[in-house]
Every structure is written in structure tokens, then in C-alpha cells.
């Protein structure tokens, strides 16, 4: 894969480029932060949701883009966060922060367990094993309908969504609070991802993606490294899920369905596999594709489908992936 080769080739000059890449990411985050003061009300509301979902995509990309493991079951991690937080808040009366932690923790536990089992497989078998576990999790949300209300789901009501942090009250029903929490979550995850892929561990991940056998022979414990990547990826996805539940007050089984395992894959591929910002770009692009197309026609799926085909013909490595190949090779 050319992306990895590029990175390896530029390994020697990395230090000098450190600032350029970091600055780019900080600049993008600054723009995202600043946008809230200039965009319209609707964009403001939408962007908050897109940023939460982009966090999910960033998490997905750590496993798929950098480690080369294609999971078709990430919805289970997103749902673990969603239900961990949602059930925590609605059934156990946890506060906002505790619920969020409960969601993230559920994701951590689930991804560790799934990782220990599923990582015995690779390639297509890994795809199916993760998909099967995710399907089982989806059915579990229906099976325990008594607590989850199955497909219909749970609504988190008003007072659950008030919190006090650093002595200040925050109301999650306020759009401004929501935007900035979503932004904060995305910013933290993008920076974690950036730090990770530039760290020695990150380079081992890429080495595994390029040639696992070789990485193993060089003395790296590939199983542990892959498990680490999966747990980081799954936990980040769960954080996105937990944030989704608490910010948008709804927890339902549709978020655990196969569709929500495919979506992050699509977002990552669109934006550029194995780029830190690609998932963010992909998620944004997909949202606006659907949103604008549906303004003009109820057959918007057709428009989205055609747009995907055009994009893939022009940008087979995704927007940023193709850009990196042709213009900015230093993009992490």
C-alpha cells in the first residue's frame, strides 16, 4: 500500500515535518470550533451531530485504516456506549458524567472481550466474526426489551441531561453546550489518533497492516498490538455512542444494526483510509450529500449512489487519501 510506503520513506524527515502536520490538524479543529459563531442555526445543530458521528469514524479508522483490520461489526461498540450511557442514566439514575463513563467503560470491556476472541482470525474471517458478534449484540438489545424497549428505544428525559462540571451547570438541551461537547470529543479523539499514528506503536500498526508476518518476525507482538488497536478503536466508538445518547436523548436498536457498522466504513473510505482527518471529511461529506440531495428529490438515494460512484472513480483512495498520493505526501 502506497500510504505506508510513503510514511516509511519519509520516516527520516518526520521530525522536521512534525509541526506542519500538527499545525494542520490544529487549524482544522480551530475552524470547526470557530464555525459555530458564523454558521446558521440548522448547520449548527447538524454539525454537532456530525461531529459525534465523525468521532465514531475516527475510532473506526484506527483499526481499519491504520491496522488494516476491516471490522463489519463496529456498531456493537457504538451501541455499547449508547446503551451503557442510556441505561445507566435511565435505569440506574446515573448523572451525565457517570453515564458517559459507563458507556465508555462498556465499550472498553466489550472491545477487549471481542478482541481476545475475534483477533484469532484475520482478513475475511475477521470481517464475518465481528459481523456475527455485532448481530448477536443487536438481537440482545431486542431480547432484553424489558430494559431497552427494543427497536422503539428509550428517550432520556429533561432532568437526566443536566450536569455540573467544574462548579458550573451545563444543560445538554442547549445547542451551544451540545456543539462544544461534540467538538471537544472530536478534538480529543482526533488528537489521540494523531498522537497514536505518529508514535512508535502507530508505526507498528502500519507495519502490521502492510505485512503482519514481517512485523511479527521483527519481534513485535502483533496480537497484543492489534488488541490494543481494537480496544482503542472500540472504546472511541463507544465514546461516540455514549455522547450520542446523552446529547440527543435517544437510545434505540437501529444504532446497533448492521447499517451502523457499514456507515463508518463508508465514511472512512470516502474521506480517505488511513488519514487522521479523512473520517471527519467523509462523515461531513456523506451528511451533506444526503441532506442536499433530499432537498431536491425524494429519490435522493439515487443521487447519493451516483455521487459515490463519481467520487470513487476520481478519488479511489478517498478524498484525502488521493490528495496525499498526489499532492501532500506528508499528511498523516
Amino acid at each position: 500500500m502506497s500510504a505506508g510506503d510513503t510514511m516509511a520513506a519519509h520516516g527520516a524527515t518526520r521530525r522536521g515535518l512534525f509541526d506542519k502536520a500538527l499545525l494542520l490538524h490544529l487549524a482544522v479543529l480551530a475552524v470547526l470550533f470557530g464555525l459555530q459563531f458564523v454558521i446558521g442555526e440548522y448547520q449548527h445543530l447538524s454539525l454537532a451531530r456530525v461531529m459525534v458521528l465523525a468521532t465514531y469514524a475516527v475510532g473506526y479508522n484506527i483499526l481499519f485504516g491504520y491496522t488494516g483490520l476491516l471490522s463489519l461489526g463496529h456498531a456493537m461498540f457504538f451501541a455499547a456506549g449508547l446503551y451503557g450511557a442510556g441505561i445507566g442514566a435511565s435505569q440506574f439514575g446515573l448523572g451525565v458524567q457517570e453515564s458517559f463513563i459507563a458507556g465508555v467503560f462498556s465499550g472498553l470491556v466489550l472491545s477487549t472481550v471481542i478482541g481476545l476472541i475475534a483477533l484469532r482470525t484475520t482478513g475475511v474471517a475477521f470481517m464475518i466474526v465481528t459481523m456475527m458478534f455485532a448481530q448477536a449484540c443487536y438481537l440482545l438489545t431486542l431480547y432484553f426489551g424489558e430494559y431497552t424497549r427494543g427497536d422503539e428505544g428509550i428517550v432520556l428525559k429533561g432532568d437526566i441531561r443536566q450536569m455540573v462540571m467544574f462548579g458550573y451547570p451545563f444543560d445538554l438541551t442547549s445547542p451551544v453546550v451540545r456543539y462544544n461537547i461534540a467538538f471537544g470529543l472530536l478534538a480529543v479523539c482526533v488528537l489521540i489518533c494523531l498522537a497514536l499514528v505518529r508514535s512508535p506503536t502507530g508505526r507498528v500498526l502500519v507495519a502490521i497492516r502492510e505485512n503482519e508476518e514481517r512485523a511479527g518476525m521483527l519481534g513485535y507482538d502483533t496480537f497484543r498490538t492489534k488488541l490494543f488497536a481494537l480496544v482503542v478503536s472500540g472504546t472511541m466508538s463507544a465514546a461516540a455512542g455514549a455522547a450520542y445518547a446523552l446529547l440527543f436523548a435517544y437510545v434505540g436498536a437501529s444504532f446497533a444494526s448492521i447499517q451502523y457498522s457499514i456507515l463508518p466504513l463508508l465514511w472512512v473510505l470516502l474521506g480517505g483510509i488511513g488519514t487522521v482527518l479523512g473520517p471527519v471529511v467523509g462523515t461531513l461529506l456523506m451528511f451533506y450529500l444526503v441532506d442536499y440531495a433530499s432537498e431536491y428529490t425524494s429519490a435522493y438515494m439515487l443521487v447519493v449512489g451516483v455521487a459515490l460512484l463519481i467520487l470513487v472513480v476520481w478519488f479511489p483512495k478517498g478524498l484525502l487519501g488521493t490528495l496525499r498520493e498526489r499532492v501532500i505526501a506528508w499528511l498523516p
Partner: protein
């Protein structure tokens, strides 16, 4: 653009799409519309009230709810056409802004945000699938957008939602199910096996029908929940105990025809009494190949699909305006069967909205609180052209309407009403009180 949208989706009936909403309505409305587009004009010079009333219609055009969504859309367009031709609501023409939610709760929530902020609608309405309602309602509540759902789910009156969400045009599952039990126990038998989808909608059936049946001295001998991912059903039928006197089925989704056919293959002519919810066969012709065995079985119907001998003038009027014939199919295409037991909810909801807006003196979003209170103040709803399904009682605390239900028998591949419940049969108590919540 609007043109192509029209021909692509429903080539048959004239639709009011967002961008052509004011087409073909009364002259006054057209003049008002013209003045809004004329450049250099100060918009709505005379009074703010000449501006059309914007209703955001959350419709399932794609996804699993599309078969219902298509008919919901037809009813809404017919009803708005009638309202506008009769002078609109409080003298203002009605403009429908319809958006597809893909029958997805996430997209539904986005839709509500779009309605409230981008389209600037006065009211959102029309959602059918429960999970979309659940996903959307919190956003409506927080954005303080009055939201009138037509879903029949037991979510509004269970107290799960908020002050801004109402279900005034269709009864909920709990009410429907409880009102069936007395007749089933009395006429069909006391030992019931239930087959239902294994998620919230099915669980409501299980819980409230079992409860109501016990009150009648009946007994549920077996529960057979079917996972939603199932496509064939034959293997579950042996679980039905032979002591079963009544088989109760309620299935939804594209698999239902298979379900009913396979049930027929399983039993042949030797079957227990069978009672089902028409949800299984909405938009499906009763005379479809394979459904012959349904002859003589019973169905709950929200609103009888076939025009009955004692048809009211209201039903006649409603069928005429919507474009549905006496067999419950589209007048343009007799093979195109309607979702008759549910879609009337859109019609009645729109007239409730009209009533509430006119009673509250609503002029614009600043009068939302008055609109909410006026809706909550509605109690008895008469049986008339505006409410063709029947008279109803609205409970302002629960934000839920209660009404009559019908039980029909399949005879000669048609549905004949054999029993109509009283409103009281479907009444229940709970401690939901939205009217105490802050506005």
C-alpha cells in the same frame, strides 16, 4: 426539480410538494403567494397572518415504512387540498413541507431540526414508526416545536415523551389491544396463543392483551415471539399448543404475507379460531394468492377498509376526497391497496391542528404555548367529515386520543365488520400528565 420529484415517486395523484405547495388552490392563496415572490415587495404588507401556515410533514418515503408513507402522503395532500379550498386554517393557507426521514430515528431527529430552524415550520406532524417518533420527539421538545404524531405506538401516553408531542388522530396500541379482549374471550375462546414480533410493538401487544384477557377470565397458553430478522415462519408453528382455541397474530413488515401463507399451509382446513391485527395486511389485497385460508378469520381494523352497508356520509366523503374506492384501493389503480386502518390518522390530526390553531388564536411561533394549551383543552371529538373514523375522546393530560375499534371477519375475500367497540373498552388509566410540565 419539484416536477421531477413528483413524477418519480407518485405518478398518479397530484401531490403538494414543498416547492409547488401553493399550486392549484384558492385565488386568495395564489395572490398571496404571488406577492411573496414579487421582487421589491415588502413581504406580507397587510398582516403577518396572510403568510401561509407551514406544516412540516415527516414522512417515510424510503426505508421499511415506505408502503405506509406513500398513503400517509396522499391523505395529507388530499386533506390539505380540502382545508385550503375551504379557506385554510384561521384564514391562512396551509403549506406542507415534506421531508423523507428514511424510517430512521437519526434522520428523523435531523428532520425535526431542519423543520424548526431551516424551514421555519409552525408545526411538525405525521410520523408513523415508533422508533422514529422516539428519536425525533426529544428534539421537538427541546426546540419547542409542536409535534403531532400518527403512530399508534404506546409512547406518547406512556409518559416517555414531552409536552410538545401529541397523538390526537389515532388510538394507541395499548388501547386497541385491550379493547379486543372482551369480544375475543366472549366469541372466540379463552385459550389464546400469541404470535408477535419480538420488539417493543409486539411486547405491547403481549403485555396489554394478556392483561386484558386475564380480566375476562381468559388464559394465554403460549407466547411465540418472532425475531425481526426472520423470513420464514413454518418452523415456529409446531410451538402452538393443540389446546389453543384462538391464535392471535400481529406481524408487520414485508414478511407478513409469507407468515400468513405459511400458517395456512401448516393448518390446512383444520384450524383454531384466528384473530389478527390488520397491520399484517395493510396495503395487501385480501384476495392475494395464498391468502384463501384467511376466509372466516377475524381482524382488528382501525377503520374498515371495505365500505360497509351502514356507511356514514363522512366515510363516503373521506374516500372521495382521498381517492379511495369502496374496496379500500386507489381509484386510479384498484390493485393499489391503501393502509386504511392507519392513514385516516393524518386526516384527523390535520383537523385537530386546525381546531387547536383556531381556538388558540395562533399567529406565529410566539403563540406556541397557547397552541399547546388549546390542544390539551380538546375533549370530545364528534363523528363528522373532519373525523370520519368515529367520535373520540382526547385526554389532554396523556396527549392521547381514545376511540372506537372494529373487528371484521374475512368473508368472500372481503372484510365485514362484525363488532364495533365502545370508546370505554379502550380506556385505561395511568399517571401521565404532560400538562404540568413547563412550556
Amino acid at each position: 426539480m419539484a416536477k421531477s420529484k413528483k413524477t418519480l415517486i407518485t405518478p398518479k395523484r397530484d401531490l403538494i410538494t414543498r416547492r409547488s405547495a401553493l399550486k392549484g388552490i384558492a385565488a386568495a392563496g395564489a395572490a398571496a403567494a404571488a406577492s411573496t415572490t414579487a421582487p421589491g415587495f415588502v413581504r406580507y404588507v397587510q398582516a403577518q397572518t396572510s403568510e401561509p401556515l407551514k406544516l412540516g410533514f415527516q414522512v417515510h418515503k424510503t426505508g421499511i415504512g415506505a408502503a405506509y408513507g406513500r398513503w400517509y402522503e396522499r391523505v395529507v395532500n388530499a386533506c390539505v387540498g380540502e382545508i385550503n379550498a375551504n379557506g385554510g386554517i384561521a384564514g391562512r393557507q396551509v403549506e406542507i413541507v415534506s421531508e423523507d426521514d428514511g424510517t430512521d430515528p437519526k434522520r428523523g431527529a435531523e428532520m425535526i431540526e431542519k423543520f424548526a430552524t431551516q424551514h421555519g415550520v409552525d408545526i411538525a406532524f405525521g410520523t408513523l414508526f415508533s422508533h422514529v417518533v422516539m428519536g425525533s420527539a426529544p428534539r421537538a421538545g427541546e426546540l419547542k416545536l409542536p409535534y403531532y404524531v400518527v403512530s399508534e405506538g404506546y409512547h406518547v401516553s406512556s409518559g416517555a415523551l414531552n409536552r410538545y408531542t401529541f397523538q390526537p388522530g389515532i388510538t394507541d396500541v395499548r388501547s386497541q389491544v385491550s379493547s379486543m379482549a372482551p369480544w375475543v374471550a366472549d366469541k372466540l375462546g379463552k385459550k389464546v396463543t400469541m404470535i408477535y414480533p419480538d420488539y417493543a410493538f409486539g411486547h405491547d401487544h403481549r403485555d396489554y392483551f394478556s392483561e386484558a384477557m386475564k380480566k375476562q377470565g381468559g388464559e394465554i397458553v403460549e407466547l411465540i415471539p418472532i425475531p425481526p430478522t426472520e423470513t420464514s415462519y413454518t418452523k415456529y408453528f409446531p410451538k402452538i399448543p393443540s389446546s389453543t382455541e384462538v391464535l392471535y397474530h400481529v406481524m408487520v413488515g414485508p414478511g407478513v404475507l409469507t407468515f400468513v401463507k405459511e400458517l395456512g399451509e401448516h393448518y390446512g382446513s383444520n384450524r383454531p379460531e384466528i384473530f389478527g391485527f390488520i397491520d399484517s395486511l395493510e396495503a395487501v389485497p385480501i384476495d392475494s394468492p395464498g391468502l384463501e385460508f384467511l376466509e372466516g378469520t377475524y381482524f382488528w381494523e382501525g377503520y374498515p377498509r371495505y365500505a360497509q352497508p351502514d356507511q356514514t356520509p363522512y366515510d363516503k366523503h373521506y374516500r372521495e376526497v382521498v381517492g379511495v374506492n369502496d374496496e379500500g384501493a386507489s381509484v386510479n389503480d384498484p390493485k393499489d391497496i391503501s393502509t386504511y386502518s392507519h392513514m385516516f390518522g393524518c386526516w384527523e390530526t390535520l383537523y385537530i391542528i386546525k381546531q387547536a390553531i383556531e381556538a388558540s388564536g395562533y399567529k406565529g411561533p410566539k403563540d406556541k404555548a397557547a397552541l399547546i394549551e388549546a390542544t390539551e383543552a380538546i375533549t370530545d371529538i364528534p363523528w363528522d367529515n373532519q373525523h370520519p373514523q368515529g367520535d373520540k375522546v382526547f385526554n389532554g393530560k396523556m396527549h392521547q386520543v381514545f376511540g372506537h375499534q372494529n373487528i371484521s371477519q374475512v368473508a368472500n375475500s372481503k372484510l365485514d365488520v362484525v363488532h364495533r367497540t365502545s370508546i370505554e373498552d379502550g380506556m385505561y388509566e395511568n399517571d401521565t400528565d404532560y400538562s404540568k410540565m413547563p412550556l
